[in-house]
Symmetry: C2
Subunit: 190 residues, 2 copies
DNA sequence: ATACGATTTTGATAAATATCAAAGGATTTG
DNA sequence: CAAATCCTTTGATATTTATCAAAATCGTAT
């Protein structure tokens, strides 16, 4: 039993042989800081569970990097556009800290789904949960100001500014680095 | 066989008995225009497939209605926050046209999942597909201007302006009605 | 057709955010 | 430790979008 299986079990309790089957198609490794796990244009066929560390998922818009997602301890990251479609991804995945990662090879999951319907359910619940997260984020963008988004972020991820550069966070919030810097400055005087 | 089962079959081919089981927990009805299918604060336990018509999913932000989603022919609509969590929803669902709707009673799905693992897969793929849709929408908001969002919308949903009021569309695009009106005006001179 | 209510557009102004440039601070490296 | 590089902040200005108010348009019921 490892952190990844632990995590999966917390969503749906898996029988031992299903755990084994998943372990067999999972790669466990320590990845140094600033490693590119996926470059855009490539096909993504794994998803990553972070036992420790920090990664970002980002894409390019008009030549600039835009952070789509951060994942840290206990979080997952992948290029879902490609993972789910089999087409090349627009996303890049990069470690921002040295990270201990469990990478599940999605392409090898099919027989596991077939042998263990419970894993199909696990997959459904995981996507569902992440849908809700994205829905939250969506609402935040659709009708909240940059400042409200900032507040929410530091609440959910208090140490993010200590762990990565401002520019990465700014694009995650959908604003420029300068604007984020000013929001933070205004915040200190409260 | 009906439109709803047809739709499900297009995602995953279902054996006949699974189709039956789903049909048994699905309500088929014609709903008049402007009907509220769900009010915020209620628990949502069904999701709706639109054979014809148009609905919007919306919530309140600072007293104002914000459209989160439109669904028309062949689309689905529900208050996913509640459907997936069992908690009261923040969303409202309203028909904008008289609509022919298949409403699947989500709470009765559990035994169907158990009897037919293929339905579990169907569920996973449906959530997955909708995750990708939401991801698209998210990217559109995170780093595209209102005008780019407008362009994308008329491309995907050319007749939306004929079918509902401007205000509903504006909040879907994350802008005010006035601003949307001006974008449209600027567009005509092209 | 006319009048009413609802919806959309237009106008003036204000607020939020971006852009570009430069100045400060950190951090790394020789 | 100093130089070089990278990152963050600050300043000035421009653009985008919101707000509030009024005018124009549309749809519908008389």
């Amino acid at each position: 039993m490892n952190e990844f299986i632990n995590y999966l079990n917390s969503i749906v309790e898996l029988p031992h042989n299903a755990q084994e089957a998943i372990n067999k198609i999972t790669i466990h490794r320590e990845v140094p800081k600033n490693t590119i796990l996926l470059s855009h244009g490539e096909i993504c066929n794994e998803f990553h569970f972070l036992a420790t560390g920090l990664v970002r998922v980002f894409y390019y818009k008009d030549g600039k990097e835009v952070t789509a997602w951060f994942a840290s301890q206990g979080g997952i990251a992948s290029a879902i556009d490609s993972l789910f479609s089999g087409l090349p991804s627009i996303y890049n995945i990069q470690t921002l800290e040295s990270s201990e990662i469990f990478s599940l090879q999605y392409g090898k999951l099919e027989p596991v789904f077939r042998d263990f319907p419970i894993v199909e359910r696990l997959g459904r619940l995981m996507v569902t949960y992440n849908y809700l997260l994205l829905d939250e984020r969506m609402k935040l963008f659709a009708f909240c100001t940059a400042e409200e988004r900032y507040e929410r972020l530091i609440q959910q991820f208090p140490d993010i500014f200590q762990r990565t550069k401002l520019g990465h966070v700014a694009s995650y919030l959908g604003i420029t680095q300068e604007h984020l810097s000013r929001i933070r400055a205004a915040y200190k005087n409260k």
